[in-house]
């Protein structure tokens, strides 16, 4: 039974990691005042590019780099359109998703039906020898460790650094930030690129670890879940991590419940991850003041430097 619990926990980690990556990137993007609805598209392009790079080179590290670069390239396109050409962020983000689905399918045509051995785990010496705990925490691939480090870094960056303060100020009031001499467009451009890199990493995780292969539209809506997680986590990295793991845990536990023969309709079980995650995050965020403090006030608004 202990073994089953451990394996369940490991499955939960795999299910949550792509959400953590995609959502933490979007969190930074939104904190800078930009709403990028194109996560799904960036993830898919990241997934196919990292699969392609890993497949051709045989090096997983190149696959990861390719995923990051591809996500950033997509984000750069979005940033150019919305920040330079002032197109609508909502419409452009949606278009980016549709574009990403299509272009990833096009790139991936020749990779369908090809298996990939996957990114190998990287046990941390000594620590991974601890019974149970070692396997639970210290015997993962580099992307899982990276997701925790990334959340901690983003949290530290936003709360404790000067650059983080600048980023938040741009998100809260671009006019005030502009008046203070902050380069609003540049800050938002960087934030959007960071979001793209994270979405690309999420995609790389999908095609190299979660299900090491390329199939069209393999993200299957995870980009949208990530987007929702950011809002329900009230733009706070810690809560976002909690939300992603909660979602992952309920998704896996409901499958376990079904396999154990618990007498609850499976349709209801499939709804559970969404219901519970939303409910928990709404409950812990009841404090309106907290939402007001954390929600970027100028999210989604175009910035015209002249005004």
């Amino acid at each position: 039974m202990n073994e089953t619990l451990l394996l369940t926990a490991l499955t939960i980690i795999t299910a949550a990691t792509p959400l953590v990556y995609a959502a933490i990137g979007e969190l930074v993007v939104e904190r800078s005042g930009v709403l990028n609805l194109g996560i799904e598209g960036m993830m898919l392009v990241g997934a196919v590019c990292s699969f392609a790079a890993a497949h051709y080179s045989g090096a997983a590290s190149l696959g990861i780099v390719a995923g990051i670069m591809a996500g950033m390239l997509m984000a750069a396109l979005f940033a150019f359109l919305t920040l330079k050409l002032q197109s609508s962020q909502v419409a452009t983000g949606l278009a980016l998703t549709i574009f990403g689905i299509g272009v990833s399918a096009l790139i991936g045509q020749s990779f369908v039906g090809i298996a990939y051995s996957g990114l190998q785990p990287l046990p941390i010496p000594v620590l991974s020898e601890i019974p149970v705990l070692g396997r639970l925490l210290f015997n993962h691939d580099v992307l899982v460790y990276g997701s925790f480090v990334l959340v901690a870094l983003v949290s530290w960056f936003l709360k404790r650094t000067h650059a983080g303060l600048i980023l938040r100020s741009v998100g809260d009031s671009h006019n005030a930030a502009h008046a203070l001499g902050i380069k609003v467009i540049r800050v938002r451009f960087m934030a959007t690129l960071f979001g793209g890199a994270c979405a690309g990493l999420a995609g790389a995780y999908l095609s190299m670890v979660y299900t090491p292969m390329w199939v069209e539209n393999m993200s299957a809506g995870r980009g949208w879940i990530a987007l929702a997680l950011v809002v329900f986590a009230v733009w706070q990295p810690g809560r976002l991590l909690l939300g992603a793991y909660l979602f992952g845990a309920i998704s896996i536990l409901q499958l376990h419940g079904q396999a154990l023969g618990i007498n609850v309709p499976s349709q209801l079980m499939s709804m559970l991850p969404y219901l519970v995650t939303i409910l928990v995050l709404v409950l812990i965020s009841r404090d309106r003041g907290r939402i007001r403090r954390n929600a970027p006030a100028s999210i989604g608004q175009a910035f015209h430097p002249t005004t």
């Binding site: 089953t4 394996l7 369940t8 499955t11 795999t14 299910a15 792509p18 399918a105 991936g108 045509q109 369908v112 039906g113 090809i114 298996a115 996957g118 999908l206 979660y210 299900t211 090491p212 292969m213 199939v215 069209e216 539209n217 393999m218 299957a220 809506g221 995870r222 998704s251 896996i252 499958l255 376990h256 079904q258 396999a259 154990l260 023969g261 618990i262 007498n263 309709p265 499976s266 349709q267 079980m269 499939s270």
Partner: protein, 361 residues
């Protein structure tokens, strides 16, 4: 009389000439065949197999046909728009290849009486709407037999999509065949409520293996569960196409959908004007349900037993739903020697003995 006869013959001759003229006019203008797919053509499963059928039509008829397809069409309001688009853009024959396209297909068909429609896996027909499906449950009898013989934990994991008769029938056919060779084995079913989500399918496979299943079978479309099986060192069956590339050691065999001959036949009928609304439900004997080579880890006796079932189903000496059958409570639902007719099979909404858990309604 003679005069009458020759007049009649003349009339026939004129009619024949006219009809040849019509046929010629048609063959100058290629017959347009449209396909509506629920998934992407590169899913390596359900939609991929339908697209091979489309390619078979092109290979067979060359310039005489023109095929188009629309992929990843959601089952719902969007489907009607897509089907209507195909119908109004001069398509002569339209295949809609998912159960959820049934109502939109019938609705559009009423507005386009001259266009011929073929709907896969549904049950609503019109003068210009045929239905076709394959008896995949026959294939599940074969793999159920193999699973029953090869399981060591006596637990089989079954990843199911939606609780519709097609899927329930597959679970039951699998279980019946499995219990015939191994009465102690049971089937654990997990419903993922999607046809296609590689991540979720992989999660379900992991969960089932963690709960003791040593053979995984699926009624979803991606090869992700096989990949998990390969990684965890358990066996699995492919779905819709040969998925051994993803599980070279683990795949025992696969139930392959083969629509090629049906699609070619129906297109030929549309071209020469003999197309009529029909209901086709083809099994292993028609080639619609096929198997690739057995996997490297299938022992000889299992291989032989699987062949016995396969050949028995072809020559009708074995029926996948043959009594005596019991329901989950152990009550007899079908007496010795009796066989469920197609009506029961098409509406199947109960589990047989050997399946764990309750069927979601």
């Amino acid at each position: 009389m003679v005069f009458h006869g020759s007049l009649k013959q003349a009339a026939f001759a004129i009619a024949a000439v006219l009809s040849i003229g019509v046929v010629n006019a048609q063959s100058d203008d290629p017959t347009k065949v449209g396909f509506v797919y629920v998934g992407p053509v590169s899913d390596h499963g359900w939609t991929y197999r339908h697209d091979l059928g489309r390619q078979a039509i092109e290979a067979q008829f060359g310039d005489k046909v023109e095929t188009t397809y629309v992929e990843s069409v959601p089952e719902g309001a969007d489907a009607e728009r897509v089907i209507r688009n195909l119908a109004s853009s001069g398509h002569d024959l339209i295949f809609t290849t998912s159960f959820g396209f049934m109502n939109p297909t019938v609705k559009v068909a009423k507005d386009f009486p001259d266009v011929k429609f073929e709907h896969a896996t549904g049950f609503k027909r019109e003068d210009n709407v045929s239905t076709y499906a394959a008896r995949f449950y026959e294939g599940r009898s074969v793999i159920g037999t193999m699973a029953g013989m090869m399981t060591k934990t006596n637990t089989i994991g079954y990843i199911a999509s939606f609780p519709i008769p097609e899927v329930v029938r597959g679970i039951n056919a699998f279980t019946i065949a499995m219990r015939k060779v191994n009465p102690d084995a049971t089937v654990k079913v997990v419903w993922v409520n999607t046809w296609y989500d590689p991540g979720k399918e992989a999660d379900a496979a992991k969960v089932l293996i963690d709960q003791g299943a040593d053979i995984i079978t699926q009624h979803t479309d991606s090869p992700a569960p096989l990949q998990v099986a390969q990684e965890r060192g358990v066996f699995a069956f492919g779905q819709a196409s040969d998925m051994s590339a993803f599980a070279p050691e683990s795949q025992l065999t696969s139930i392959v959908d083969d629509w090629n001959s049906y699609y070619v036949e129906r297109t030929a009928a549309a071209i020469d004007g003999t197309w009529a609304s029909t209901d086709t439900w083809g099994g292993i004997d028609t080639g619609m349900v096929a198997f690739p080579e057995y996997g490297v880890n299938v022992p000889d006796d299992v291989r032989a037993a699987a062949e016995v079932i396969r050949e028995g189903i072809i020559d009708k000496s074995i029926h996948p739903f043959q009594g005596p059958l019991k329901d989950q409570a152990g009550e007899e639902i079908l007496a010795e020697g009796e066989i469920y007719d197609d009506g029961v099979l098409l509406g199947m909404n109960f589990y047989v003995e050997g399946v764990q858990g309750d069927l979601p309604k």
